[in-house]
């Protein structure tokens, strides 16, 4: 591991300042992803700015011109957020997504901001002896024709077929959350759905954040549909595994027809995949196995698979169908 300078920040402003003043700096949250990368040589910063002590560790109700919701400090630990009573009652998909992720120990350590910015688990990305465009632009993509079980099936490019590993991000994308970021130029809000980018021809950049921008909080708008949400994750073992596919869904039905629906997928793309075409297709229709399958098929027309990832299409279809049918049953009660 490369020698580096370790700095700590007490406030969001000082973190941003320290970062700007320190060449080769990187923020350190809970460290559950970044420390691994330091050891593996995947990340080689010259300095760490530890932001985990900044008191951005509260979950608060907010009220603004547009509506109300929850503001989640970026240092709120995954386990605290999952257990928060308001989250459990009004945003069940968020709580379930968090609890479906990692292990109890890691959730205790992992932060909200760090979770969203964790990097892909692509095996080649984590192995510095192999070509990887994300880690070393221009070297090629080993996963394209290599170990492909976790490859993306939507929105990928020949430069990169990695998936984004966060469960939390998928639930937040479904529920129209946004992140609040602070940078040298001040504060801005980014819809979660816009935060992560597709790989195109530069997979080395995961998000639209500018270097030195710090996530200070996540805003989760309170909506009726969010309270009727769920998260279903399919993985290779019963716990402690990343999603093969996952589905965050929220549903409202009026007069037997879908009045509001949210669908986001994990494990299928370089970002949490908000399935807007499927949502559009379902809105106004009755919720049946056939309509859900048709809606999913609509979204998946663009899917690209290979022999190792082809299973994701039926798995995603079936899992989405299951999640929405179960929600419909719950809503009906």
């Amino acid at each position: 591991m490369k020698d580096l300078t370790y700095l700590t920040a007490d406030t969001a402003d000082s973190a941003v300042e320290l970062f700007a003043a320190t060449p080769g700096a990187q923020f350190l949250g809970g460290g559950t992803n970044l420390i691994d990368h330091l050891k593996l040589g995947v990340a080689t910063p010259d300095a760490l700015v530890d932001i985990s002590r900044i008191p951005l560790d509260r979950v608060e109700e907010y009220q603004d011109a547009i509506g109300s919701g929850l503001r989640i400090g970026s240092n709120v630990r995954n386990s605290d957020l999952a257990a928060h009573p308001v989250v459990r009652a009004s945003f069940p998909a968020v709580s379930r997504a968090l609890l479906a992720g990692a292990s109890g120990q890691i959730r205790n350590q992992a932060t909200t901001g760090g979770n969203l910015l964790q990097r892909t688990r692509c095996v080649y990305f984590q192995d510095v002896t192999t070509p990887c465009n994300k880690r070393e632009p221009g070297t090629g993509c080993s996963a394209l024709e290599g170990y492909g079980r976790h490859n993306a099936v939507l929105g990928a490019s020949d430069a990169c077929v990695a998936t984004h590993p966060s469960d939390l991000a998928v639930a937040l994308a479904a529920l129209d959350a946004s992140v609040v970021v602070l940078g040298p130029e001040g504060e801005r809000r980014i819809a979660l759905d816009d935060l992560h980018r597709l790989p195109d021809d530069d997979p080395s950049i995961d998000t639209i954040l500018e270097p030195g921008e710090l996530i200070t909080s996540v805003e989760l708008p309170r909506t009726a549909v969010a309270a009727q949400s769920t998260y279903r994750k399919v993985r290779d073992r019963a716990s402690f595994a990343f999603a093969l596919v996952s589905v965050a869904a929220a549903l409202q039905v009026e007069g037997g027809r879908v009045s509001d629906v949210r669908i986001a997928w994990g494990g299928v793309a370089h970002k949490p995949w908000r399935a807007r075409r499927a949502e559009d297709w379902l809105r106004g229709r009755a919720i049946t196995e056939q309509t859900i399958r048709a809606a999913v098929a609509e979204e998946l027309t663009a899917a690209r698979t290979n022999a190792q990832s082809v299973y994701k299409v039926p798995m995603l279809t079936n899992t989405t169908t299951l999640a929405l049918l179960r929600l419909a049953e719950e809503v009906a009660q």
Partner: protein
């Protein structure tokens, strides 16, 4: 050395639940593992070692450029094939590292970095530049590899066997099952990564090498290293007071051990510590070969086997042969007058495969026991009845009588406890909400092994206390605890009156903790020594009197066929929508002779069952055919069963004693729990869904049809 016939011991504490002798030390963190020893143990001012590995699967090292590494603060030396100490014997190319420029597999050790700190060593290794010439490689096991017939398969068995007229039998069979079964590469992954501390001393020209090693056998390490280093085994001292598991991967020294020893050769006596990383373990410390088993079963309409054929293709490496005995259990498991087994190896440009829990039996019995389930389905016979129908009178391979073959008792007892009678034989007939539900059964077997070459020492300490010494290693199984029980009974005292010393080559020789042979081999030696001690020194020996003895050969081994048996039952649930697989119940019944300590034995059986479940559903080392190495090289990508996967797992054993096999009445228990377990799980998933999966691991995507399973 004195030979002594070991006679059956009077049973007192054997069979009694006894707490682990080292349990408190372990849970309080006071047990010191191979790289945790400090000045108290002679490890003064150590240097740290990091391995530099090849990044091509085949080729040559043309240059190792060390300047950048050497100028990194703390780095002391970079050792490569041009400046490494020379070995006296390089036949074992796995261990003969840095002796020439050849690269035989990706991940091979091509340089070593010594530094004052672990961090400096690691960064130094990252800074070493290795120029490699690349040759084309072949690393993928497929049905199309060029193969050869090894002279023998492990440990020293016939490569092929033929009895009767197999082809004629198949031509006449009413029912033929003919399928190919696959098992993947698996890595042992003990919790404690491999690690070695080594230092050299020179005593008036007499060279001595001292090591703490994470190994399953201290004498084995000394014996394999000594001739290569030009030493007598007595010049090497190896200790392994605590070892955090091995599962076979520490059954012999791998290349990293030689790395530590060679590096230590250059430090003028400073100890060298090497802790292998989890990722490096996937390249360097052994794994189970993938296997392709082509099985044919020919039977009468009612399920009586007339012919069995098991043709195995598996893999070895170019640098050293390792021939897994995958078809060996097929030779002795069921009656059939006509049988054929074959082993063929593809020699690939990969690291050397090695021992992994139940080598041979685990992959071989997966194939055979799924095939038996298919035969049961084809014949419409209950799978337990099918196995009963095909019970042999004598060992089909050797013709010898079985000493104690109780497979049918295991199956019947298990069936009763598991509730087998209530099972609907139809596959895909039971649905519970989202889940298809099924049950499956498989047989298990493992040879009873007792190794020659063990001895033990008993010394009187006075006041009815005894020091008992043997070099055996407790790799976490509870060997310390059961050996104390055995010594206590053999001397007719309480275990608390025994001071047991183990895991040091200065003690009387012990064979490896492997092949389920440890307790049988070491225990018999302890009994022999204790009985000889009593003969020599009587019941109230003066303090200081001692006897070292080795057990006399046992003629019974030539007259009888010794095997353990078991039956494994599994319930599997497969989600109609997602294909997710859960195993809510897993139950094994075993016939293993007398159980010495129910607590540690239970933990071996449960551990074996869990590892079998893990092999059934999760474990899979993906070797990238283009790159040559395993890319699922950490525990986040190489899945083993997590707690949530391990639900109701239980094991029982038949009350019995095998006094012909050991004076304790015990056989081995370390491996049989993994045997057949993956097959039971596979058979249960078939019964649940009607979909037969013949390739391990069985995963969600095996059940993700367009409309669910």
């Amino acid at each position: 050395m004195t030979e002594q016939v070991a006679r059956p011991v009077k049973i007192r504490t054997i069979g009694r639940r006894t707490d682990r002798a080292d349990g408190v030390e372990k849970v309080t963190g006071r047990a010191t593992y191979a790289v945790e020893h400090g000045v108290d143990d002679g490890v003064v001012d150590p240097l740290h070692l990091w391995l530099v590995q090849s990044t091509v699967a085949k080729g040559r090292v043309s240059a190792v450029r060390a300047e950048a590494a050497l100028s990194h603060p703390g780095v002391v030396a970079v050792i490569d094939h041009t400046n490494a100490p020379r070995l006296h014997d390089t036949d074992n190319r796995e261990l003969a590292i840095l002796q020439d420029d050849r690269v035989g597999f990706r991940g091979q050790i091509v340089a070593l970095v010594l530094a004052e700190t672990l961090e400096a060593a690691r960064q130094g290794a990252a800074l070493v530049e290795v120029d490699q010439e690349v040759d084309p490689h072949e690393v993928e096991l497929t049905e199309h590899n060029a193969t050869y017939r090894p002279e023998t398969v492990n440990p020293d068995m016939d490569t092929d066997t033929d009895e009767g007229d197999v082809d004629a039998a198949f031509a006449q069979a009413d029912v033929v099952v003919d399928h190919t079964y696959r098992t993947p590469y698996e890595h042992n992954n003990p919790l404690e990564a491999h690690a070695t501390t080594a230092w050299w001393e020179s005593d008036g020209g007499d060279e001595r090498l001292t090591m703490f090693d994470s190994t399953q056998g201290v004498h084995g390490v000394a014996q394999s290293l000594a001739p290569m280093l030009g030493l007598a085994p007595g010049q090497i001292r190896v200790r392994a007071p605590y070892v955090g598991g091995g599962f076979g991967s520490k059954g012999e020294a791998h290349a990293h051990v030689m790395a530590a020893v060679l590096a230590a050769r250059t430090t003028e006596g400073r100890p060298v510590k090497l802790a292998v990383t989890r990722q490096q373990m996937f390249a360097l410390t052994g794994y189970r070969t993938a296997t392709i088993s082509h099985i044919r079963l020919g039977a009468s309409a009612d399920g009586r086997l007339d012919a069995i054929e098991h043709i195995v293709q598996e893999q070895t490496s170019t640098i050293r042969e390792f021939a897994e005995q995958t078809a060996s259990p097929t030779r002795m498991m069921y009656a059939a007058p006509n049988r054929r087994t074959r082993h063929r190896l593809a020699r690939l440009d990969v690291a050397v495969p090695s021992w992994m829990r139940a080598p041979g039996e685990m992959p071989g019995m997966f194939a055979q026991e799924v095939a038996m389930d298919e035969l049961a389905v084809s014949c419409g016979v209950d799978p337990i009845l099918l196995r009963e129908l095909n019970e042999p009178d004598t060992d089909p391979e050797t013709g010898l009588p079985f000493n104690n073959r109780r497979l049918v008792d295991c199956l019947r007892h298990g069936a009763e406890r598991f509730g087998w009678a209530a099972r609907n034989r139809e596959p895909r007939a039971t649905r519970d909400g989202e889940w298809w539900v099924g049950t499956g059964v498989a047989s298990a077997t493992y040879p009873a092994n007792r190794m020659p070459g063990n001895a033990a020492r008993v010394r009187s300490l006075g006041d009815g206390r005894y020091a008992v010494a043997i070099a055996s290693v407790d790799i976490g199984t509870g060997a310390r605890t059961v050996l104390s029980q055995i010594a206590a009974d053999a001397l007719d005292v309480e275990p608390s009156a025994i001071d047991l010393e183990v895991a040091d080559t200065r003690l009387p020789a012990a064979t490896v903790a492997g092949g389920s042979s440890g307790t049988s081999s070491w225990g018999t030696a302890i009994v022999a020594a204790a009985q000889r001690f009593r003969k020599d020194h009587g019941d109230s020996a003066e303090p200081g009197l001692e006897t070292t003895a080795t057990p006399a050969d046992d003629p019974a081994e030539e007259r009888l066929s010794f095997h353990s048996f078991g039956a494994v039952f599994a319930e599997a649930r497969v989600n109609h929508w997602t294909g997710e697989i859960r195993v809510p119940r897993l139950f094994g019944v075993y016939s293993v002779g007398r159980v010495i300590n129910p607590m540690t034995a239970r933990s071996q059986f449960l551990g074996g069952l869990v590892m079998g479940l893990s092999a059934g559903l999760f474990e899979d080392s993906y070797r990238d055919p283009r790159l040559g190495h395993v890319v699922t090289q950490d525990l986040a990508t190489y899945h083993v069963a997590a707690h949530a996967d391990v639900l109701d797992v239980d094991a029982e054993w038949l009350e019995e004693s095998d006094d012909t096999f050991t004076p304790m009445g015990s056989r081995g228990i370390g491996e049989i729990g993994i045997v057949g377990t993956a097959a039971a799980v596979a058979n249960a998933t078939f019964h649940a869904t009607g979909t037969r999966v013949r390739s391990l691991p069985i995963t969600v995507d095996d059940f993700s049809g367009a409309d669910g399973i």
